[in-house]
Symmetry: C2
Subunit: 222 residues, 2 copies
């Protein structure tokens, strides 16, 4: 019934527009009563984003299940990939929703609040992992924001391409960039090699991102 | 008249609560007509954030006025400081609004959309500056998000402390952290020294942030 309501809602949103569609229209098309609608969705906006609550719950559970051995930035990047997976499960629906959301200010505001909740989930996890470290909450907030921005940059490109192309590769690349700025080097050296040293020689005054890139490529070599 | 409307609105919001105050109540207390209210504020929510539009316009103008010689991350950090200045101009009002916003979901949603517009202004500027660079839009989005998150981390700490303490120092510190991750080294070496080299020796597998910290402190030495 939940899926039928979502399908009916999107059919009407596409045919008539979002603002012109009422909850009564949706339940009439789905052949159910108003109460059934509100059992699943607190408001008309929620039917546009039917899977975010589940995804948020999955993300929180995934983060809680991690241990001290997990590199924190890697862990939040993996958590962000849960959001991508939700979008990539149904490209047609995701692209339709993306176009709809761009047109309706109320839906954009709703989406911002959802993104904010994802970002807070990541930041809360990182605050725990960085507890006791100087600037722990600052680092947590900045890393969470950077990871969400990187993820969404790749996700939006994919949505703009109408769900063509490889979303996973694009998001991996974007998250790799965030990780390079803040986390351990991705696929870092195994424990036995940890005492090896890396020597980086850089011009004084070189931009920090260039230095980081240099270190990254040195770490990644061999 | 605009200031009088803001003052009347906040007096009522604090006395009765935000939801319980109507625009009619506000104009009655301010001694003006409804039309005057809507001349200044499109909605009741806007009277809570009366200076954001001006601040957004100031930020956009500031960013446009920059030249190619400005280090891009430094420039967006300076642009973010305009927001801090707006809050710090009137600590009592800012703290009252912070408390109010925390309690009213509609205002939180409004605030998220304002923060998003600041972030987009910074990202648009950076996209221009990074145009043609590989991953230019990715870098722009991530840096903008990191700068906004750093700024807001410090701003919120200051608001939670009831506007006590030195907001400028806190925000400078937070923005310095964002800059260290992405920008040129703050107060980098003068041009004549740019060919000096810095040698960093690091354990392979060391977290990237530690390596960056090390480079930062090396750059900052002497």
């Amino acid at each position: 019934m939940r899926d039928a309501l979502v399908a009916a809602a999107f059919q009407l949103f596409l045919e008539r527009g979002y603002e012109q569609t009422t909850v009564d229209d949706i339940v009439a098309l789905a052949g159910v009563g108003r109460r059934s609608f509100f059992r699943y969705f607190p408001s008309k906006e929620d039917v546009v984003f039917p899977d975010h609550e589940r995804c948020l719950a999955d993300m929180t559970a995934f983060l809680s299940a991690g241990g001290d051995e997990d590199e924190p930035v890697q862990r939040v990047c993996d958590a962000a990939r849960l959001v991508l997976r939700m979008y990539a499960e149904n490209p047609t629906f995701s692209v339709q929703r993306y176009r709809l959301t761009k047109k309706v200010p109320g839906l954009r505001a709703y989406e911002l609040s959802v993104v904010w909740r994802y970002e807070r989930a990541l930041a809360e996890y990182l605050r725990g992992r960085y507890a006791g470290r100087p600037d722990g909450t600052l680092r947590a907030d900045v890393v969470a924001a950077a990871v969400v921005a990187a993820h969404n940059n790749a996700l939006r490109s994919w949505l703009r391409s109408d769900g063509q192309g490889d979303a996973d590769t694009a998001v991996d690349h974007a998250l790799g960039y965030a990780q390079a700025s803040f986390g351990d080097s991705p696929g870092g050296a195994p424990a036995t090699e940890q005492e090896d040293v890396v020597v980086v020689i850089s011009r004084r005054g070189a931009p920090m991102w260039r230095v980081v890139q240099e270190i990254e490529s040195t770490f990644g070599r061999d």
